[in-house]
């Protein structure tokens, strides 16, 4: 009861979020109905392909939420979130591979096909336990969390910030991509995992399973949104925003900047991991190209297009940009990179607040000299604040 009231009061302050959740609810109820109840012959029928596509967009939206939380609110531009997404996906993929069992090409009850192909005799230790769903479920969150914790602990403690951090995360993701491309890693090399059969006993090729997966994804997205909103609205959330705007000042005020950053980073990585885990059974494949640095950068542009530091905008941006991508790569493949590239340039130049900046105007018009977050203002150029170089 109390939870419901809290929720209600939160949403009352957050009309955008309310609209977002209502839309999600609509997607989770209407889409399955259009797919399952409406006959195939009807114009209103939603094909399973489209249903899966929507599920994919929702996973991307969740990933965008994760990035928005740390970039929009924490000022940490991670160019490695695709890595957490892919790690979650690989954890799910490992479970799904174990579920194939004897139905693989080689019919080995324990070893996945690629291991038989590589002449492996027994399952490597890190594959143990992945035949249990609960274990895989735990790993989807734990593996990204652990990586984020170790990386974040090292990076934030030694105060690697800004661009440096971005480049480091990118390098991390790149190194992981190279590693997963190797056959000896035991993750299927550049083919990755595919040809999944079923999840928890339900056939993945059945429409019903697809519908359930979509509903679960929508629910997960809604929950993550509420969780992010709760974090942002909390006291800790305000500290995180303070760190974004003036890190040193926050530190001097006595806050442990490193721990705040670390925990929000880890939480964000977990979100990304769960999004990846939900993505894999719907798309049916996971391979090392998911780690590619460009994927992480694309996530950032979804957030930037939607409007950073708005959560709802990030999710909306993810869906919109990906819908555009699906449309363009189908209809005008030549144009897609031009469009995406120009989008990057135009949004950063002319829409620093993204699409949400168009929809929800600030309480009063902005004037020069307003105290915008430091990352948004045209701070004095690098050289100006430098002063003369002291010897």
């Amino acid at each position: 009861m109390r939870v419901a009231r809290r929720l209600w009061s939160t949403l009352a302050d957050d009309p955008g979020g309310a609209v977002f959740l209502a839309l999600l609810l609509a997607v989770a109820t209407v889409m399955p109905a259009l797919n399952q109840v409406v006959p195939v012959s009807s114009a209103l029928h939603l094909s399973t392909y489209s249903l899966t596509l929507i599920g994919k967009y929702l996973c991307y939206a969740m990933l965008a939420l994760a990035v928005d939380l740390i970039w929009g609110y924490g000022g940490i531009l991670s160019l490695g979130h695709a890595a957490f997404f892919a790690l979650g996906g690989y954890a799910m993929g490992m479970y799904l591979m174990r579920q194939i069992g004897r139905r693989g090409v080689y019919g080995n009850p324990i070893l996945p096909d690629f291991m038989v192909f590589l002449n492996w005799q027994k399952l490597p230790w890190f594959w143990l336990g992945f035949n249990h769903f609960w274990f895989a479920l735990a790993m989807m969150a734990l593996v990204p969390a652990l990586l984020a914790y170790v990386f974040g602990w090292l990076a934030f403690r030694s105060r690697v910030t800004g661009v440096y951090l971005s480049i480091m995360t990118q390098a991390l993701s790149y190194a992981l991509m190279l590693a997963f491309f190797r056959n000896d890693m035991g993750f299927g090399g550049n083919n990755g995992f595919t040809d999944f059969k079923d999840i928890l006993g339900f056939d993945l090729h059945q429409d019903g399973t697809r519908v359930v997966l979509l509903v679960i994804t929508a629910a997960a997205l809604a929950t993550s949104y509420l969780a992010c909103r709760a974090i942002v609205g909390s006291r800790a959330g305000r500290v995180i925003r303070a760190i974004r705007d003036a890190e040193s000042r926050t530190r001097f005020l006595g806050y442990r900047v490193e721990s705040y950053k670390l925990w929000v980073f880890v939480f964000s990585a977990v979100l990304a991991g769960i999004a990846g885990a939900l993505y894999v059974p719907q798309v049916g494949i996971i391979n090392p190209s998911e780690f590619a640095p460009i994927n992480s950068i694309e996530v950032v542009i979804w957030v930037a297009v939607g409007g950073r530091g708005t959560l709802v905008g990030a999710a909306a941006g993810a869906v919109l940009v990906n819908y555009a991508k699906t449309f363009f790569t189908g209809a005008l493949p030549e144009v897609w990179l031009y469009a995406l590239g120009s989008l990057f340039v135009l949004v950063t130049l002319f829409l620093p607040r993204g699409l949400m900046g168009l929809v929800s105007r600030p309480r009063r018009p902005l004037r020069p000299g307003d105290a915008l977050p430091a990352t948004w203002t045209d701070r004095s150029r690098v050289g100006v604040s430098a002063g003369s170089k002291t010897k």
Binding site: Q170, L337, L340, G341, V347, L349, S380, A386, S388
Partner: protein
């Protein structure tokens, strides 16, 4: 000597050569006599040669050996080409008229052979393969032929030909070839050839029954780095199945063991040098791709994700330049360097004026916007040149190897990349430290407001600095076009590496970039034999990530207040 060789090489010219001898020797004789006598001489020699050649058609193998000896002793200029052809299975009979021909290529997959006349060595049309019969050889005949050809080559005036002949003989030494070498060693004048012959004789001496001769042989071979020599010496130390040593003499064994150890030490040393050099050349590529970034990122603080695509523009400029001058591939690279600098530099100035200048002080936004630019540039190149890789030719002067000794060889393209990188680095350093532009750039970097107050056009300096960094990226692209595929993804594969180099070396420090890139290359090469290429790269990346945690400002951190603002 020279004249004799002229005779041997080319029958056509030899007639005239003989005529000259005649003119010199018989000046006092009648003109008619001097002209006719040598021609008649040549004619009779030709007849003898042809007759011997003709006998090859039907002869048994032992008879063929005799014919070969006759041919080689005939002194006929065509002897060597004909015997070589016989050795290489390129000597054929045309049963139709019983004539013997050389063919240019004995490749069995050819439908017809191009014929060469054995006397004049001129083209003699072509014939279908079925209409010809090969003059067969067997092992002992081939051995004899090899020796005969080697004898011809050993008396060649060109030391390179002699050296090649000796090297060929060293591959399979037998009594006959040893005898030949022994005869030659006394008269040989070229030091290199002589050393090679002595190596051969020393190798032969190892089989001698006289222990002293064997010891002398080992002493000669002890400083030879060739794998063959090392294996031969190591063979002396082996034990046969019954436990006894192959080499019975204790002293010889000890000398051989010492020699093998010394050779191994030297070989390890030289392979170390080779690895180091490989590392430096890999590092040079890294420095080259990163140094433009060191200007735009290090000096200006601009994160240019399109840096890789500016390199790509440089590489495509090389391709276009080669298209424009297909006959001068060797010079095309020299033209491409300034052309690529201009193209990429211009692109950089446009990029700075239209996008980046609105984003100064907002590094993360710059990162996103320039990434967008990189996507557009990639697609642009795809639209113009197609998505396929384009092949850029390597000029002849850049291919090949520099053989320093038997254990150390350096490919020219690796050598040139190191030199090229150092030149680019030096020029950049001079521009920044010794020119007006460099002075302006440093002034604006250190204190923009003050520089402006002193009358420096900071906007112009910004554009020029960015253009300079971008131009260097283009120049790096020219170098990359010689190493990797020139395609739309060329830039992407280097962008992470180049950022890592700059961050590792210390932002804003050119020397840091040089040291950082070189050491990354060397470490990479050192790890590669143990871990493989991919794993080595992963190790380097992870090591760098950890390094930055400990020293966030890189190898050579900026000091003073300028450091705080970044």
């Amino acid at each position: 000597m020279r004249l004799l060789d002229g005779l041997r090489c080319c029958g056509h010219r030899s007639g005239r050569g003989a005529r000259q001898i005649g003119l010199r020797w018989f000046q006092s004789l009648l003109l008619a006599a001097t002209l006719f006598a040598p021609d008649a001489l040549a004619q009779s020699r030709n007849d003898g040669f042809l007759a011997a050649l003709g006998e090859l058609r039907e002869a048994s193998f032992p008879d063929k050996e005799k014919i070969v000896e006759r041919l080689s002793e005939s002194g006929h200029p065509s002897a060597r080409p004909v015997l070589t052809a016989l050795l290489e299975d390129r000597l054929y009979v045309r049963p139709q008229d019983q004539k013997i021909f050389l063919v240019k290529s004995g490749d069995d997959s050819l439908a017809s052979f191009e014929l060469v006349d054995p006397l004049s060595l001129r083209d003699a049309g072509s014939s279908p393969r079925d209409a010809l019969t090969k003059v067969g050889t067997n092992n002992s005949l081939r051995k004899l032929l090899k020796l005969t050809v080697a004898r011809f080559d050993l008396s060649s005036p060109a030391s390179a030909v002699r050296l090649a002949a000796v090297e060929e003989m060293l591959r399979s030494l037998d009594d006959a070839s040893i005898a030949l070498l022994r005869k030659r060693v006394g008269v040989e004048t070229d030091a290199g050839v002589k050393e090679e012959i002595e190596t051969g004789l020393a190798l032969a001496a190892l089989d001698s029954s006289d222990p002293q001769a064997r010891l002398d042989g080992i002493a000669t071979l002890a400083h030879n780095l060739r794998q063959q020599v090392r294996n031969r010496l190591a063979g002396l130390l082996e034990q046969s199945a019954d436990g006894g040593f192959v080499e019975r003499d204790e002293r010889v064994r000890r000398a051989a063991a010492t020699a093998v150890r010394a050779i191994d030490r030297s070989r390890t040393f030289y392979s170390g040098i080779e690895t180091l050099f490989f590392g430096l050349s890999v590092g040079s590529v890294l420095v080259l791709v990163a140094i433009g970034l060191a200007v735009t990122f290090g000096v200006m603080g601009v994160i240019n994700m399109a840096h890789g695509e500016l390199m790509m523009l440089g590489a495509y400029t090389t391709y276009v330049v080669q298209l424009a001058m297909p006959r001068h591939i060797g010079a095309s690279i020299l033209v491409a360097v300034p052309a690529a600098f201009l193209v990429a530099g211009l692109a950089g100035v446009v990029l700075e004026r239209t996008i980046i200048r609105f984003l100064y002080g907002r590094p993360l936004e710059t990162l996103l916007a320039t990434f967008g630019v990189s996507l557009v540039l990639q697609q642009l190149v795809r639209s113009i040149f197609s998505a396929n890789n384009r092949s850029v030719e390597t000029p002849a002067w850049m291919s090949g190897t520099l053989q320093l000794n038997d254990a150390l060889s350096i490919t020219y393209n690796r050598l040139y990349i190191v030199i090229f990188t150092l030149i680019v680095f030096a020029i950049l350093l001079i521009v920044l430290k010794r020119t007006r532009l460099g002075l302006d750039i440093r002034a604006v970097t250190q204190n923009r407001a003050m520089a402006q107050a002193m009358g420096i056009r900071t906007e112009w300096v910004d554009a020029m600095t960015f253009g300079l960094g971008s131009g260097i990226a283009g120049v790096a692209g020219v170098a990359l076009s010689q190493f990797t595929n020139v395609g739309p993804n060329l830039g992407q594969s280097y962008i992470i590496d180049s950022f890592m180099v700059v961050v590792f070396g210390g932002v804003g420090n050119l020397w840091g970039t040089l040291v950082g890139g070189m050491s990354m290359g060397v470490v990479n090469q050192l790890l590669e034999p143990y871990a493989g290429a991919v794993l080595a790269k992963i190790f380097v990346l992870v090591a760098l990530i950890l390094f930055i945690q400990r020293w966030p400002r890189g190898l050579f951190p900026q000091t003073g207040r300028a450091a705080e603002s970044q």
